[in-house]
Amino acid sequence: REWRGWNIHPADYPVSTGMEEFARLINEKSGGNLEAKVYHGGVLGDQPDAIQQVRLGGLDWAVFNLGPLGEVAPEANVVSLPFIFKNVDAMHDVMDGPAGQQIADGLANAGLQALGWYDSGARSFYNTKHPINTPEDLKGLKFRVMSNDLYVQMVGALGGNATPMPYGEVYQSLKTGVIDGAENNYPSYDSSGHFEAAKYYSVTQHLILPECLCVNKALYDGLSDDEKKILQEAADESVKVQRAAWAERAEQSKEKVVAAGIEVNEIADKAAFQDAMKPVYDNFIKANPDLAGLVKAIQDAQK
């Protein structure tokens, strides 16, 4: 039976390239025994619903962002802690190491077999008013965030006004001033057109959320050892392809928005932002005491 794969992105996105590569590779390596296809563009439901569908076996495999996965596996939430990764390379090292394995184990408990970590870049703040260099620069600004406690707390801790809002309303709201800013990676900042409305992009890189290439756990457990090996090899190769495609895409998008006249500023010293996150981290550990070790392991791994 052909495995049904879910993907939120359109067919020409880096994640999509990675998934198609994975499908091609398992087919090739298994001599045609394993077959997989991808439904691109989220036609089978949005992310939280699709997570449920893969857990239940209605879908067989997918690539999910670790943000929404945090709702089903608390371990996955750790990477949603703002500023937990120094940069994208550090994220790759951590996720490909023991900490990533611990998150994978958490996902396995939720019925998802993680095979590899895709890249979705680093999210930074952009707004219509002025460049952000210190937390004070966020004061009084209305920022759209995804509906997640950690992101709401993050903006609050930095002195901004967190405004959860569906993604589709953001462009219009930036244009007309319902909100002052939002946060995202370069490719989304570009493809959503938000750069037309909010020209100050400040490279805070506060969230570096990996995405998880995963298979329904029961399906995976029913495979032979050889097949499992094929899956892992295909996943590892597709991860390389996806990360490369992502880096290229991010660079293209950056060039495009810069050429369009937006103002990018790097943050010289992120320490003030990180310090402001203390209550967010404290809250998180208070609510999830058993994850304190994982948080520390991730931080230590980057020292």
Binding site: Q52, E71, K142, D149, V152, N161, A162, T163, P164, V178
Partner: protein, 174 residues
Amino acid sequence: MLDRLGGRLAKILNLIGGIALVALIPAFAWLVFGRYVLNETPTWVEQLSLILIVLITFPVAAACIRDNSHLSVSFFRDALPPKAAAVMALISYAAMVVFGYYMFIGGYDLVVFNWAKKMPIIHIPDGMRSIPMMVCGAGIAFYSVVHILKILSGWNTIAQSRFYSDELLDKDTE
């Protein structure tokens, strides 16, 4: 008897929906007020309103089965002799009983499956979102059964009349 019970139930279902609808307005007024005046957007409105919309839809949609106010295409039925049309209605209600049953079960499964997951921001079990769906499923099945019983008990009336319609039966039973 069943029909009168159904009537009372419909009143309750409509009341739930009406209250949920009215509640949406102060919630959004507060959202706008919070954003502009307090410069602190209430983050719970989005999540709460998603529950309210479910609370409007499912109970009231079930009550609408009782008075047949759902959008449907009746001209094929109208073109047929009354008995044939009544048979069509029976088949349609029977399918609705089955669907209502599965909706109840599906709703229940969703409640259980999502109970441990908490809704973001407002932190109540995500499974609660699906309770109104269970109510709707049960309501659809119940009202469809009542319709079936009505058609069967009014069978002779249907046989004598020139055309079939649900209103025709309502006159005899209410």
